[in-house]
Point group: C2
Chain length 329, copies 2
């Protein structure tokens, strides 16, 4: 298969060693419970990822406490150094710790140097109009010794020429990885293909990698991740059972089954699903459902579907469809 057609491998029986897997279970899953995970559960996920050979674990956001109340949000909204260190415990395994930093919602200047931190990479999330802030953040994190990546959010609503302009700007920053992000789970394989190719036009000459972060509104998160791999993306986001906002993400267990790098192991992932993830699924309620399909098909933010599914009676999908379709435009 194309994803393994490197010179040093033999078709699909080989693998592409450059590929890195980033588990976002706790970060993206936290959007379903305001980041209120017990430290014990987060540690179990950490342990699982170490045992399965996953390259990065994203634990949460670095939200500004002046903007977000720690009464409402759990500790993984803020990802304080002490909480991360306590969660990791004695484990000296080589997995890298990732934190997401939203442009305009992160007090990034207060963040210490890498030498004083348990965090390895800051992943900067930015809408198109926030790019100047994102660039400042990338520079600041880099100067402090962190690895960085950048997510251009809601790209399915951005004009082509503006995407090009954004890529030109990112190419000039020290950011290591530029992510194709399907925020609304609205994209088909050809759109993923086109975006990875476009991003690579700017990223390749600048020596940067491409990442993929997909949502499962149309049951395409895994397949869009494969498409991105085939097109050369090397940084792959996934979560246990696809846990994440709304329809969720690319399931880690499917992705690890696809990659043939012997450093990845699926059995610890299955154990964690059984013992720790399935038991919280009913409460957090992520995963593919028709209301998410509808917002995905319409290229809309899933917020209407999320709020519909939180209602007492969320079974009337026709009512939801009518409400979305009959909105004035």
């Amino acid at each position: 298969m194309a994803h393994n057609e490197d010179k040093n491998t033999k078709g699909w029986v080989g693998y592409r060693p450059e590929i890195k897997v980033i588990d976002c279970t706790i970060r993206d899953g936290g959007l379903m419970n305001d980041h209120n995970f017990e430290t014990g559960l987060v540690h179990q996920v950490f342990k699982t990822l170490v045992e399965s050979g996953i390259d990065y674990m994203e634990v949460g956001y670095k939200a500004d406490k002046k903007i977000f109340s720690s009464d409402k949000f759990g500790k993984w909204k803020f990802s304080e150094e002490d909480d991360i260190k306590k969660m990791i415990g004695e484990n000296e395994a080589g997995i890298k710790i990732s934190v997401m930093a939203d442009a305009e919602r992160t007090d990034y200047k207060a963040i210490p140097n890498k030498s004083e931190s348990a965090i390895d990479i800051y992943r900067v999330a930015t809408y198109i109009h926030q790019i100047p802030t994102a660039v400042e953040m990338i520079k600041d994190f880099t100067a402090k010794g962190y690895e960085t990546s950048v997510n251009l959010m809601a790209v399915s609503t951005v004009r082509e020429d503006e995407i090009d302009a954004a890529m030109e700007v990112f190419a000039e920053t020290p950011v290591e990885t530029i992510y194709v992000v399907d925020s609304f789970g609205s994209m088909y394989c050809e759109q993923i293909q086109n975006l990875v190719r476009k991003y690579r036009k700017y990223a390749d000459p600048a020596g940067k990698q491409i990442g993929i972060h997909a949502h499962n509104n149309q049951q395409l998160a895994y397949s869009n991740t494969i498409t991105a791999i085939v097109e050369g993306a090397n940084f792959l986001d996934a979560t246990l059972d696809g846990m994440g906002r709304g329809a969720g993400n690319c399931p880690l267990e499917l992705l690890v089954g696809f990659l043939h790098n012997p450093k990845y192991h699926i059995r610890p992932i299955l154990e964690c699903l059984k013992d720790h993830i399935y038991p919280i699924k009913e409460q957090l309620n992520w995963g593919y459902k028709v209301p998410y399909m509808i917002t995905g098909q319409l290229n809309q933010h899933p917020r209407t579907a999320i709020s519909f599914l939180k209602q007492e009676d969320s079974s009337d999908i026709v009512k939801f469809y009518d409400s979305v379709i009959q909105e004035d435009s």
Copy 2:
């Protein structure tokens, strides 16, 4: 998008008029309840498909009563003319009725001429070693006035040169459509792409169409259907909520959202999901689950996963994984 790049359409805002959608809800779903659907439910599905503009409805198998007992199996295992006519009722809508006929399990010689039948198309399912029988069936059905298609089953376990030989044989029959079938839900987009291209090499010169029937073991049924569309497949199998054996099929509601032909309507489909399909889901228990993922990843028939999931305690996915992995080969 490529699936709409015909000369007479305008990119993805157009559609490909040659495309036909075949709903297999009752036929493939029947594999989860031995085809014991109430006629009332089957009629509701029929009504829904008529209202949504779906082209074909597959109601069941034409199994030989000398081989299969009607004590054990419901009427949609046998799809008798009287049962079909009673189910359709007064409705004179133009939807075509399809029945699947397994090679070596169908008393095809006893089937009447099309002029005496409510059935429009016989879809012949054959394993590679049954092809001579399948060819006889295709010829017989054609002579009697029926449309035909052929499914080469379990193709993921067949050698390349044997697939070529099968296609050469099919190209010489009067069959109208040759299906790419991912029986085990084990295929990735590149394998679907390769198979559609290979099948078309034989089908195109013979004036035959390509169909796609996908299974959802790896959450790829819908995306593999899209890949097949992009490669030129025009006969698309789908089912309500993906209802079907094991992990199920390509969900009709997703597929209709992707196709832009204004003759298809999604709202009646959503109504049927809510009123008739979701209420039987817990009992029939189709849909993506990790044991199906495991058999799909290993390119195995899902029967071990189906029997595991029928057990009292089917939550120990690690035990299932171990049992499949530790089998002697």
